[in-house]
């Protein structure tokens, strides 16, 4: 009898943890199912409308292309800014920084990663936007404004500002992973180089960076995934206008992203087609971010396998 009850408890617990996992899997699947169901009205209405270039709530036209392109552009620019900053900081951290500086830097990276997005937003909106307008956009427009990409007028709130704020948000992601990769460079290689009279930079350049190349690439992709889905800070500083990229290609124009559109319109949308178009955009965002994240995971799995065979 006792045995029986133990067996019962044992299998009950097994089913409990297994069941909980299935619930989690169920939630994940339901995200797709629910978004697909609720996008349905917009998809039947016009399957291609979401890729149109006009978004006009009052006339019931919901073309999401400016938002999709804004999402891709702001994230790509942010990643481009973040790569040198993160790699520079990581190399400095692992190779040059004294121990105390290193401790301080790791606190900074940790705190940066935990500051909520909405806080980056309020800072970007009220502190950075006017400065960027007066000291970055206006001089640039004044000197090379004839290039369409940098043409005026200077609105503080812009695609450029959103990319800049995103940069600060993804630097800790790339840095923390890169630092752990660089610190795990095999010591023998490193010492061999140094005994040959190489400078620290040469060691980094020829040993540590090539050794961690793939991992750093994965970290960058992960950061890209994060940037694509970032909402609050972007919504607060991008200007939420549908000018970009059709009526102006300038990086200094206000623009929109999928996330900024959903965040600023969904709660006040009453028209069912409007709601459903926003949800369809969300579904597109989900597919994009999952693809990006999945490719990063694939690379990471490959690295850990390589590590195992070495």
């Amino acid at each position: 009898m006792n045995k029986k009850s133990i067996f019962f408890k044992d299998s009950a617990f097994k089913y409990l943890v297994g069941g909980a996992s299935m619930v989690v899997v169920g939630f994940f699947a339901m995200i797709f199912v629910m978004l697909a169901i609720r996008s349905y009205p917009s998809i039947v209405n016009d399957p291609l409308m979401v890729f149109g270039s006009t978004w006009d709530v009052n006339s019931g036209i919901f073309g999401g292309l400016p938002a999709i392109m804004g999402t891709l552009a702001s994230s790509a620019i942010a990643v481009a800014f973040a790569i040198p900053i993160s790699l520079g900081m990581s190399v400095f951290f692992t190779e040059y920084a004294p121990r105390r500086v290193r401790a301080a830097l790791s606190v900074v990276i940790d705190i940066m990663a935990t500051i909520p997005s909405v806080i980056f937003g309020i800072w970007g909106l009220w502190i950075i936007a006017p400065l960027v307008k007066n000291y970055v956009q206006e001089p640039i427009i004044g000197s090379i404004g004839f290039i369409p990409l940098f043409s005026g007028p200077a609105y503080g709130l812009s695609l450029f500002l959103a990319s800049l704020v995103l940069t600060f948000m993804i630097v800790p992601i790339i840095s923390s992973l890169t630092i752990s990769l660089l610190s795990s460079t095999p010591a023998e290689l490193r010492e061999a180089m140094i005994s040959l009279g190489a400078t620290r930079w040469e060691v980094v350049r020829h040993v540590a960076l090539p050794f961690s190349k793939l991992g750093i690439f994965a970290a960058i992709i992960l950061a890209l995934g994060r940037a694509l889905g970032e909402t609050m800070a972007v919504t607060m500083v991008i200007g939420n206008s549908f000018m970009w990229p059709f009526s102006s290609v300038s990086l200094f124009s206000p623009a929109s992203t999928i996330t900024s559109k959903i965040a600023s319109e969904l709660y006040e949308a009453v028209d069912m087609l409007h709601v459903s178009s926003l949800i369809e955009l969300g579904l597109i965002l989900l597919v994009i971010t999952l693809t990006v994240n999945f490719s990063a995971r694939l690379i990471i799995t490959r690295i850990s396998r390589r590590g195992a065979t070495q």
């Binding site: 709530v57 009052n58 936007a129 006017p130 307008k133 007028p153 609105y155 503080g156 709130l157 939420n240 206008s241 206000p254 600023s264 709660y267 006040e268 949308a269 009453v270 028209d271």
Partner: protein, 360 residues
């Protein structure tokens, strides 16, 4: 079997105590708030034009009736009307009355004028303060993109005292469906022969930046030198954005003030007696600010579709708004309703019913 160490236990204890305190605080707080009156939550939304005042009203009303919670979302008149039609809003704020076709599609909606206000032409020109003179024709040309520089001869001619800069004009207008836009364009259609864009909650602007809500226009304007936009008076005044004097039918350049707007609404009040939806812009009269409008609360006559407590709360709140609520208007720069308009509002509110019984 004792792998637990003492430290772990004390940690769990600490977490437990924190949780208990929180639960206790919650219970205390619930017992505090639960009283005798029947609680009701009312969700409303619409025009941003009267938002500062409605926000004040809901807050003051909650102080008097702690169990009645009314939330008003400032989403624009158009979204407010749609929300009312969909019955996601229990009542809507709208600066423009319903059109004939809207009434045909959604019968049984009452118009309750709850306050009014002025729409000001606000601008951001370095070194130029409030008081630039403008006429309906010049405003029309600016917003149609016919006048593109602040030092245009037409503007300079009626502003001899000002040194106008050679600065491009950036038109800032609403992107959402807005009663403020309706009032503004109705005025231009009415008062200017050169205005060709028609009137409505949205029009096809040939130029400019779109911003959402009165607050969106206000903040965009503040960040855009050379910008010009139309705003409810409070938003311009409170944000210290300069605004223009506008030529009225009596040939005076009138500055928007609480008194010049009140004069306009007083002159317009008789029109409402015959038609609650009458257009009241561009009223004649001495010292009248011409771009002044009434703003309405829209509510279904028959509130049987909502819980009874909520229906009662809506009716009582609206009654309070047109009476005691008016005492808060002037501190927020909105004129009090003229007494003849209060009478109209009373008559309309008495038509509210719940399952056939009048609510008031």
């Amino acid at each position: 079997m004792s792998f637990k160490n003492r430290k772990g236990i004390s940690k769990i204890l600490a977490v437990g105590i924190v949780a208990l305190v929180l639960v206790a605080a919650g219970v205390f707080y619930y017992t505090q708030i639960m009283g005798a009156e029947q609680p009701a939550t009312v969700t409303a939304g619409g025009a941003s034009f009267p938002y500062p005042l409605i926000s004040k009203w809901t807050s003051e009303y909650n102080k008097l009736h702690p169990l009645i919670q009314i939330t008003y979302q400032s989403v624009g008149s158009g979204a407010g009307q749609n929300g009312l039609f969909a019955k996601t809003f229990d009542f809507a704020g709208s600066d423009s009355p319903l059109s004939d076709s809207q009434i045909a599609q959604n019968p049984g909606i009452l118009h309750i004028p709850e306050t009014g206000g002025g729409i000001v032409v606000a601008y951001n020109i370095p070194n130029i303060g409030s008081g630039m003179n403008l006429t309906a024709d010049i405003i029309a040309k600016i917003f149609q993109g016919n006048i593109t520089k602040w030092n245009d001869p037409a503007i300079a001619a009626i502003n001899p005292a000002l040194t106008l800069p050679d600065l491009g004009i950036v038109v800032i207008r609403r992107s959402d469906s807005s009663g403020t836009t309706d009032g503004f364009t109705t005025y231009l259609k009415n008062a200017s022969s050169v205005w060709v864009l028609g009137s409505g909650k949205t029009v096809n602007w040939p130029t400019g930046i779109g911003a959402s809500g009165n607050s969106g226009v206000a903040s965009t304007l503040q960040q855009t030198p050379g910008g010009v936009g139309y705003l409810e008076f409070f938003y311009a005044k409170n944000n210290s954005i300069p605004y223009a004097k506008v030529l009225n039918r009596n040939g005076q350049f009138v500055e928007p003030t609480l008194s010049s707007i009140s004069k306009a609404l007083g002159a317009a009040a008789p029109l409402l007696t015959s038609d609650i939806r009458a257009s009241v812009v561009n009223m004649p009269g001495d010292g009248v600010y011409p771009i002044s409008v009434f703003t309405y609360i829209l509510v279904y006559k028959d509130l049987s579709y909502m819980p009874e407590a909520r229906a009662k709360a809506v009716a009582n709140f609206l009654w309070w708004v047109i009476h005691d609520g008016q005492s808060f208007s002037e501190s927020l720069l909105y004129p009090r309703l003229p007494s003849s308009v209060v009478t109209i509002a009373e008559t309309n509110l008495r038509q509210l019913t719940y399952n056939g019984r009048p609510l008031l």
